[in-house]
């Protein structure tokens, strides 16, 4: 019988807070290889359960199993491992550079490297990502120069964005990486618009939208799903569920919907969940979704279940809102270690070669950092000119900006 007394206000809480013992027993993990791989033209109504499971390829023994396995050669996997290791090393160096005062701000990917690195390899040249601030693996895996990324982070004289943007808000049309806003969720509907334009133009390119678990609460997320669903836009709608939106656990954005992937079901969009720490699974699902888009089958929503092992940014301390050891308890493990173990199992990799690769990558990153720092850091050395601050607001500078530039004496 319903309680018709006083109303009670409900605020969800995470399972554990600082001081408690990490507990992920509520995260149901499907067996690797257990989730079927439907044809890309599957009727979305018949795969609704995929929004509540987790597609996994690598099992506990590091073997690739099940219908989503077998898409990548060992050379491609070795390349993927190198990309993830590079991103991790790059992050560590840049995080340190921020602590040394060489830039104002940094955001790292620790624990989430597989998502963007593997996804990039499922796209074709000319496709466009609309990323958030935690998908630099898209650039690393596409061969974008690390020095250029660092120049942007340092806002130095060689910064391709002329010091106008916060660190890590890269932009590279050439590498299919849309300018990062720093706003949340706005890019999600823009990606759908880009995809609509590609279809309007009878092109063959597709778009990929990116968002975090927390920002799915923004109205632009829902705008994007409406437009993508209505116009069957050739877009992959990615949700990176790393469990934490700064200090807010994913339950605040998810509400009662069970999973983030399930948000897509009401729109008739095929919605899949995938092990975000499994390079092979991320790549296989991304490939499936990209093929759907390219074949006029419309959007796919993909939730990457992962864990943000580091802080949100250089400006917060996770120990204030979650147990310090929580990341060790995360049941899907570490993406680098898992791919490394798989490659060792295949007989194409070893601990020695891994240690050697780590050292080589560190040398490469340090060399890039040295070169970038020769062009200046945020508070020292070469910097973009004040005159350039007034440029690029419009294609042609209007009179009022010319007057203001004159006033500024530049």
């Amino acid at each position: 019988m319903a309680d018709a007394g006083m109303l009670r206000f409900h605020v969800p809480e995470p399972e554990v807070r600082p001081g408690g013992t990490p507990d992920f027993s509520n995260v149901t993990i499907a067996e690797a290889g257990s989730v079927p791989r439907p044809d890309i033209d599957v009727d979305p109504r018949t795969i609704r359960d995929m929004a509540f499971s987790i597609i996994r390829v690598l099992n506990r023994n590091g073997e690739a199993v099940g219908p989503w396995a077998g898409l990548l050669s060992s050379d491609e996997l070795l390349e993927g491992l190198r990309h993830m290791m590079t991103l991790r090393t790059f992050d560590a160096r840049m995080q340190m550079a921020q602590r040394q005062g060489k830039t104002s701000f940094y955001m790292q990917h620790l624990g989430e490297e597989a998502v963007s690195c593997a996804f990039r390899k499922a796209l074709s040249p000319g496709d466009m990502n609309f990323p958030t601030y935690r998908q630099a693996g898209l650039l690393i895996a596409d061969g974008y120069p690390m020095v250029t990324m660092m120049n942007q982070i340092y806002s130095n004289e060689a910064d391709p964005l002329k010091g106008r943007q916060l660190p890590i808000m890269y932009s590279s049309k050439e590498h299919g990486f849309f300018s990062i806003s720093g706003n949340l969720a706005t890019q999600y509907i823009q990606a759908v618009g880009w995809a609509m334009a590609s279809a309007i133009s009878n092109d063959s390119k597709i778009a990929a939208a990116w968002i975090g678990d927390g920002s799915t609460a923004e109205s632009d997320f829902h705008s994007a799903l409406v437009f993508a669903s209505t116009y069957k836009a050739p877009v992959v709608l990615n949700v990176v569920n790393n469990q934490w939106a700064i200090s807010t656990f994913q339950g605040i954005a998810r509400g009662g919907s069970g999973t983030f992937a399930a948000r897509g079901l009401g729109f008739g969009i095929p919605s899949l969940r995938v092990d975000g720490n499994d390079y092979l699974a991320v790549h296989a699902v991304a490939k499936w979704a990209a093929e759907r888009a390219r074949n006029n089958l419309g959007p796919t929503l993909v939730e990457y279940v992962t864990y943000r092992a580091g802080a949100h940014s250089s400006s917060d301390d996770p120990s204030a809102y979650r147990p310090k050891t929580e990341s060790d308890a995360w049941p899907l493990g570490d993406p680098v270690m898992r791919l490394k173990n798989h490659l060792i199992g295949l007989g194409v990799w070893s601990d020695e070669r891994h240690a050697q690769a780590e050292a080589e990558i560190l040398d490469t990153v340090i060399a890039a950092q040295k070169e970038a720092e020769s062009h200046g850091t945020l508070h020292a050395g070469g910097k973009p000119s004040t005159r350039e601050m007034f440029e690029g607001v419009f294609a042609e500078m209007p009179a009022h900006l010319r007057r203001q530039r004159q006033q500024a004496g530049v």
Partner: protein
């Protein structure tokens, strides 16, 4: 030369632009099959197909957000927000995305979009179908803001806006759609077919953004107006017999400051008229600019006539609307000062 209403002129601008450039696409709420609630896009879907002109979900943030993505791809979207009052859900996309994309990406991505929206009151639309939010756009770095006052300009300015490489807000004074409304709501309106600015040439032409027009030459006082207020000011000048010089700004940003300054230096007096609420309205910017540039030529304080600082009321519409009587009083006071 053919005579057209403002609706027909704006439609013609899109028609000409879509005919010349496959990259121009038009969409918005009720815009496709039906042709828009004001019928501005009527016939465009039939002529250019559903890929070029289509209906959008009722989601202004989605309309503008998807247009930004399309522009980043390389199309030139010209979208309609059904009423300017409905643009607020899209404000984030307009101000932090469209306006800044060129700047933040250092030209790697650009945003050549036009966002059309009917503006202003006078149709008993109440608080959600009457607003004039132009100052919310002129305050934003990276947006251009246009307010045409007649069919000839509307067509030329819209074609110029569509061809512009940056985002343009195109505010269409809805009370002018069918004629040069002068604020005398109790009198029949003159149709555009009987007005010389209803003459709209066929084919392609542009009216450049950033150039004002002097609608009435005069020597006693300068009136700065745009949209519907151009005709209200003309009526006020005629009814008071004051030799006012009336400047139709046409584009608020970039602003034609030279024309304003030359006129005020000549007349020594300035009255600014807009329908939007007074406080922090575009008139405040105009007033400051006149003071900064013409101080030693001024013989009277700069006056502003604007909508009262209340929400746009329904029953009291004509008490709210800054009509010819209020503008006339301001002209007389400015001359007497």
């Amino acid at each position: 030369m053919p005579r057209r209403t403002m609706i027909e002129a704006i439609r013609d601008a899109m028609d000409v632009s879509m005919g010349r450039d496959d990259k121009v696409v038009v969409f918005g709420e009720d815009v496709g099959f039906f042709g828009g609630v004001f019928r501005v896009t009527h016939g465009l879907q039939a002529k250019y197909g559903k890929s070029r002109c289509f209906d959008a979900p009722i989601n202004e943030s989605g309309i503008v957000g998807s247009a930004i993505g399309m522009a980043a791809y390389g199309l030139k979207p010209c979208v309609e927000i059904q009423f300017a009052d409905y643009m607020y859900p899209a404000y984030d996309q307009l101000t932090q995305e469209a306006a800044r994309l060129r700047y933040r990406s250092n030209g790697d991505f650009t945003c050549p979009i036009v966002v059309r929206m009917p503006t202003g009151g006078g149709i008993f639309g109440g608080q959600t179908h009457s607003q004039s939010p132009e100052a919310l756009f002129t305050h934003v770095s990276g947006l251009k803001t246009v307010v045409p006052s007649n069919p000839h300009d509307a067509k030329g300015l819209l074609i110029a806006a569509i061809e512009d490489p940056d985002p343009v807000i195109f505010l269409e004074p809805k009370r002018l759609y069918n004629g040069p409304f002068d604020g005398h709501h109790d009198r029949p309106i003159t149709p555009w077919s009987k007005h010389e600015l209803g003459e709209v040439a066929d084919g392609h032409y542009t009216v450049p953004l950033g150039k004002a027009a002097i609608r009435r030459a005069g020597s006693a006082v300068t009136v700065l107006a745009y949209g519907t207020m151009v005709y209200v000011a003309q009526a006020a000048a005629e009814e008071t017999g004051i030799d006012a010089e009336i400047i139709d700004l046409r584009t608020l940003l970039p602003l034609d400051l030279d024309t304003i300054v030359a006129s005020v230096k000549k007349t020594g007096r300035c009255v600014i008229v807009h329908e939007a609420t007074l406080t922090s309205g575009f008139g405040a910017e105009l007033s400051a600019l006149v003071q900064e540039n013409c101080f030693y030529h001024l013989e009277a304080p700069v006056a502003r006539v604007a909508g009262w600082d209340t929400p746009y009321p329904h029953a009291q519409e004509w008490d709210y609307f800054p009509g010819p009587a209020r503008v006339g009083r301001a002209l007389l006071e400015t001359l007497a000062a």
